[in-house]
C-alpha cells in the first residue's frame, strides 16, 4: 500500500491507482467530465486537476491519469485548482449552453453566467471524446471519431456520413455526460442488417 496526503488527510492507495481512484476510494469528490470507469482515462477535460505541492513548488496534474505515489501531497480544491475549474466551466457555458449538466456543475462552482459569446444555443457536446473511446474500447466498432482539429473539432463517423460500422448499440449515447450523443446518433448509424450478417459469419 502507498501512503499519501489528500487535502491534509493521510490516505492509502494501491499501486496502479490513479489519484482520482485514490480520492474516490477515500470518499473525496473530484469533478470529472471525460472520465468513465469503462474506458481508459484520457486527461482531456482537466476538471479533475489537483494540485501537487512539494516544498515551494506546486503544479496541477489531471488526477484521472496521474498515478498515486508514495508521499504525495495532494490538494483537490485549492484556489489554483478552482480557478482552472471555474474558467473551464464558464467557457463551457458559452460553448455548450444547452447542457443542463454543465449548468448544474458550473453553479456548484459559483459560475452562473458566462461573459463569453454564445455561438450555438443548441449545442450540448463538450467534445470530451467519451463516445469515441467507448465505441473503440468497449464495443470495438470504431464507428466514430473526432473529426478536425482544435476549434473545428467535432464528433462524427467517417466523412461525416452514416456508416455501417456502427452497430447501433447505443453505448455512446449511454456514456455521453451531457446527452449530446442522442441527437447525433441518427447521423452516425448506418444499416444494421449489414453488420448483423457480418457478425453471423464471424
Amino acid at each position: 500500500m502507498l501512503s499519501l496526503t489528500i487535502d491534509g488527510n493521510k490516505v492509502e492507495a494501491e499501486a496502479g491507482w490513479s489519484l482520482l481512484d485514490t480520492a474516490r476510494q477515500n470518499g473525496i469528490e473530484i469533478p470529472t467530465l471525460c472520465y468513465h470507469e469503462a474506458v481508459e482515462p484520457f486527461g482531456a477535460c482537466r476538471l479533475c486537476v489537483v494540485e501537487l505541492r512539494q516544498g515551494n513548488n506546486s503544479r496541477l496534474v489531471a488526477s484521472c491519469v496521474y498515478p498515486a505515489e508514495q508521499g504525495l501531497d495532494v490538494y483537490t480544491a485549492s484556489e489554483k485548482v478552482n480557478n482552472v475549474r471555474r474558467w473551464i466551466l464558464e467557457m463551457l457555458l458559452s460553448e455548450c449552453p444547452a447542457s443542463s449538466e454543465i449548468r448544474e456543475m458550473a453553479a456548484q462552482y459559483g459560475v452562473q453566467t458566462t461573459r463569453f459569446e454564445i455561438s450555438d444555443p443548441e449545442q450540448e457536446c463538450i467534445l470530451c471524446g467519451l463516445c469515441v473511446r467507448a465505441c473503440a474500447q468497449v464495443v470495438g466498432a470504431n464507428a466514430i471519431s473526432t473529426v478536425g482539429r482544435g476549434a473545428q473539432k467535432e464528433i462524427g463517423s467517417p466523412y461525416l456520413t452514416p456508416g455501417d460500422d456502427c452497430v447501433a448499440c447505443g453505448t455512446c449515447v449511454t456514456v455521453c455526460p451531457t446527452g449530446a450523443m442522442s441527437a447525433r446518433f441518427e447521423r452516425v448509424r448506418g444499416v444494421p442488417s449489414v453488420v448483423m450478417a457480418r457478425s453471423v459469419k464471424r
Binding site: 484520457f42 486527461g43 482531456a44 477535460c45 482537466r46 476538471l47 486537476v49 503544479r59 496541477l60 489531471a62 491519469v65 496521474y66 498515478p67 489554483k80 480557478n83 482552472v84 471555474r86 474558467w87 473551464i88 467557457m91 463551457l92 460553448e95 461573459r115 463569453f116 459569446e117 463538450i126 467534445l127 471524446g129 471519431s145 473526432t146 478536425g148 482539429r149 482544435g150 476549434a151 473545428q152 473539432k153
Partner: protein, 628 residues
C-alpha cells in the same frame, strides 16, 4: 550515381581503421590551395536564383577554360546563413565573399577574380555603418561575431556527397563511440558536456538518455524531432539541408548509448530539400556501412527511417509526434508514463531535436570538456537562431550561450533599419515571449530567458521596431496557436480563442482595464491546466507583452489609440500638405481609390473609403503620409 549491390559491398567500411584510411585518402586528394567556387544552395538562395548563378558560372568557366591552369570546381552547399544577401558566392581558399550575385555577374567573376585575381567591387559586402567594402567572409561582422559548432560544416561541404562530409570529419564521433566506448561512457560524456535539449524546454540530454538506457534489453527507439513549425524559424531545416550527416551521426550515437536499433526522423513534408538531402545521406551511410548491421565491425546494428509530418504544429510535442509516427491522430497524451519508459509503440524512446543531435556528433568527436568550455555555467555550447524581422542582416546565426541580446541583434544582425534600438525581440516561437530594449543586455541562455518571461524555444528570434504593435503581436501568436491547438484538452481549445477575442476587443479600443486582470486569471488557468506544453505556454505571448508593454495595452483601451499605428480600427492615415509633392505614388498604390489630388499638388485621403491597408504609407518616398 546509384550504387549497385556489388559496389555497396566494396564501399563498406568494416572498421574504424578503414574509415580513417578513407578519410585520409579523401583529404590527401584535395589541395587546400586549389581555387574552388562555392555557391550557396540553401532554400533562401535557391529562391533568389542561385541555381542560375551556378549554371552561369559553369558556362563562363568552360568558355574561359583554356586559359585557366587548374579548373576550379564549383561546389553547391547548404545555407551560409546570410539569407538576406543571397545568392552568395564564396571563392576559396581566400574566402572572397560575393553577395546578391546574378547569373549575369558570372562572366565578370571568372574574368576578374578567377583569372586575374582581382575583386569585383560591386559584389562585395558593404559595412552598413562605415560603408567600407569587405572582401572576405571572416571580416564581415555577421560572420565575425558567430561561433559555429553545429553550423561548422554548413556552407563548406556539399550536403549530397558523403565524401565531402567525411573530409570535414563526419562520423569520427560515432566511430569513436561505437568502437572505443561502452554505451554508459557515451551517456556519461553527454551528461558531462552539459548539453541541454535544443528543441525548447532545455532538458539535459544525457539525463534523458539515461532514463531510457536503464531499461535493459528489448526494443527501444531514438527519434529526431524535425517538425520545426515556429513562424520565421529555419534552424533545423538548414542543418538537415546543409549537413544531414551530422544528424544521422548523432542518432547513431544516441541509438548506441540507449540500446536502440531503430531511429525515426519526423520531418515536415513542407521541407522537401531537407528530406531529399536526408534520404541521400541515409543511402550513402548505408552503402559505407555506417548504418545497417554491424556498423564498423562493432556488432551494433542501427538504421533510420524518415517519417513525413503533415504540418501540424502540435506534432512537434513529443507524445503527439510519437502518436503520429504510430499512425494515430497527432494528439498529446498525458505524462507519466514518460517516453523514456513508454514512448513510441509503447517502448522506451528518446526524442531529441535536429540541433541537439548535431551537437551530439560534435561532442563525441571533440570531447565533453571542449563542449563544456563553451557557453555559460548552466547553458553549455552554442545556439543557432533564425534572426528575422526588423533587422538588417536577416539569416541564420550561431552564437555561444550567454551572449547578450544586444550583440546578436545590433552587431551580428547589423541593427534595426532606421533606428538605433529595437522595440522588442520575440524569442521562443509562439510559446515564447517578447523582450524589451531594456533587456538588451540580458544574457541569452535557457534560464535567463525563462526568468525574463520568454524562453529559448528552438531558436526563432523576431526583431520588432516601433512600428510593431505589441497587442497585435500577441494577437498574432494566439491566433497561430488557436489554429494549431489539437483541441483535445479543454483549457487550450476553449481558452486560447477567448484570450484572442479579448485582445481583438483591445485592438478595437474596446474593453476595460479590469479585462486585463481577467486575462491574467484566464492565462494562469490555461498555463496550469493544459495537457501539453502548447497550451501550457500559449499565454506567454500575452503575459510577456503585458509585463513589458502594459502601457501600450492601456493606451488602446483608455485612449483608443494604437501608438505603433497598426490596429486598423484605431488609426487614420492623412497626408501632410506641406510635405506632399503630388507625385501620385500613393494614389496609384491605393487599392480603394481613396486618394485624390491633382498632379504636383497636395493629395488627400477620403476617410470613408480608406481601409487602412498602409499601402500609401509604404509607397510615399517623402514621408508625407502620416498615421495616427
Amino acid at each position: 550515381m546509384q550504387a549497385t549491390a556489388k559496389d555497396t559491398a566494396e564501399l563498406r567500411l568494416g572498421s574504424l581503421e578503414e574509415l580513417e584510411k578513407l578519410r585520409g585518402e579523401l583529404r590527401a586528394a584535395e589541395d587546400p590551395n586549389h581555387t574552388r567556387i562555392i555557391v550557396c544552395h540553401g532554400t533562401g538562395c535557391i529562391a533568389n536564383g542561385s541555381a542560375g548563378v551556378t549554371e552561369a558560372l559553369k558556362a563562363a568557366l568552360a568558355a574561359a577554360g583554356e586559359d585557366i591552369a587548374v579548373m576550379p570546381g564549383i561546389k553547391t552547399t547548404g545555407c551560409h546563413g546570410f539569407c538576406s544577401r543571397g545568392p552568395l558566392v564564396i571563392i576559396k581558399p581566400k574566402n572572397i565573399f560575393y553577395q546578391q550575385v546574378k547569373p549575369g555577374d558570372a562572366e565578370e567573376i571568372v574574368q576578374k577574380t578567377i583569372k586575374a585575381g582581382e575583386m569585383v567591387e560591386s559584389l562585395l559586402y558593404e559595412h552598413p555603418q562605415t560603408g567600407e567594402k569587405i572582401e572576405t567572409t571572416e571580416d564581415i561582422p555577421f560572420y565575425a561575431g558567430q561561433q559555429r559548432v553545429v553550423l561548422a560544416n554548413i556552407g563548406q561541404i556539399d550536403p549530397t556527397k558523403i565524401d565531402d562530409a567525411l573530409r570535414a570529419g563526419a562520423y569520427a564521433g560515432a566511430a569513436k563511440a561505437l568502437t572505443n566506448m561502452e554505451p554508459k561512457q557515451v551517456i556519461e560524456a553527454v551528461i558531462n558536456s552539459g548539453l541541454r535539449g535544443r528543441g525548447g524546454a532545455g532538458f539535459p540530454t544525457g539525463i534523458k538518455w539515461n532514463l531510457a538506457a536503464k531499461h535493459e534489453g528489448g526494443q527501444k527507439y531514438v527519434l529526431c524531432n524535425a517538425d520545426e513549425g515556429d513562424p520565421g524559424a529555419f534552424m533545423d531545416r538548414s542543418v538537415m539541408e546543409g549537413d544531414p550527416h551530422a544528424v544521422v551521426e548523432g542518432m547513431i550515437i544516441g541509438g548506441y548509448a540507449i540500446g536502440a536499433d531503430t531511429g525515426y526522423v519526423y520531418v515536415r513534408a513542407e521541407y522537401p530539400l531537407a528530406i531529399k538531402h536526408l534520404e541521400k545521406a541515409l543511402r550513402d551511410a548505408r552503402a559505407y556501412g555506417l548504418l545497417g548491421e554491424n556498423i564498423l565491425g562493432s556488432g551494433f546494428n542501427f538504421d533510420i527511417r524518415i517519417n513525413r509530418g503533415a504540418g501540424a504544429f502540435v506534432c512537434g510535442e513529443e507524445t503527439a509526434l510519437m502518436r503520429s509516427v504510430e499512425g494515430k491522430v497527432g494528439e498529446p497524451v498525458p505524462r507519466p508514463p514518460y517516453p523514456s519508459d513508454k514512448g513510441l509503440f509503447g517502448k522506451p524512446s528518446v526524442l531529441n531535436n535536429v540541433e541537439t543531435w548535431a551537437n551530439v556528433s560534435r561532442i563525441l568527436d571533440k570531447g565533453a570538456d571542449w563542449f563544456a568550455g563553451l557557453g555559460t555555467e548552466k547553458s553549455k555550447g552554442t545556439k543557432v537562431f533564425a534572426l528575422v524581422g526588423k533587422v538588417n542582416n536577416v539569416g541564420l546565426v550561431e552564437v555561444p550561450m550567454g551572449i547578450k541580446l544586444r550583440e546578436i541583434v545590433m552587431e551580428i544582425g547589423g541593427g534595426v533599419p532606421g533606428s538605433d534600438h529595437f522595440k522588442a525581440v520575440q524569442t521562443g516561437g509562439p510559446s515564447g515571449g517578447c523582450l524589451p530594449w531594456q533587456d538588451a543586455d540580458l544574457p541569452v541562455d535557457f534560464d535567463s530567458l525563462i526568468a525574463a518571461g520568454s524562453m529559448m524555444g528552438s531558436g526563432g528570434m523576431i526583431v520588432m521596431d516601433d512600428r510593431d504593435c505589441m497587442v497585435d503581436v500577441a494577437k498574432y501568436f494566439l491566433g497561430f496557436l488557436e489554429e494549431e491547438s489539437c483541441g483535445k484538452c479543454f483549457p487550450c481549445r476553449l481558452g486560447v480563442p477567448r484570450l484572442r477575442e479579448t485582445l481583438n476587443r483591445f485592438s478595437k479600443g474596446q474593453g476595460t482595464v479590469e479585462d486585463i486582470d481577467d486575462l491574467y486569471s484566464l492565462a494562469e488557468a490555461i498555463k496550469a491546466g493544459s495537457l501539453c506544453a502548447l497550451g501550457g505556454t500559449a499565454p506567454n505571448a500575452v503575459l510577456s507583452t503585458l509585463r513589458y508593454f502594459r502601457d501600450e495595452y492601456e493606451t488602446h483601451i483608455l485612449e483608443h489609440r494604437c501608438p505603433a499605428g497598426v490596429c486598423k480600427d484605431l488609426i487614420t492615415y492623412s497626408i501632410d500638405p506641406e510635405v506632399c509633392t503630388g507625385c501620385r505614388a500613393c494614389a496609384r498604390a491605393c487599392p480603394q481609390n481613396a486618394i485624390t489630388g491633382e498632379k504636383k499638388k497636395p493629395h488627400t485621403i477620403d476617410e470613408s473609403l480608406c481601409i487602412r491597408c498602409g499601402m500609401c504609407f509604404e509607397s510615399c518616398k517623402f514621408g508625407a503620409v502620416q498615421v495616427q
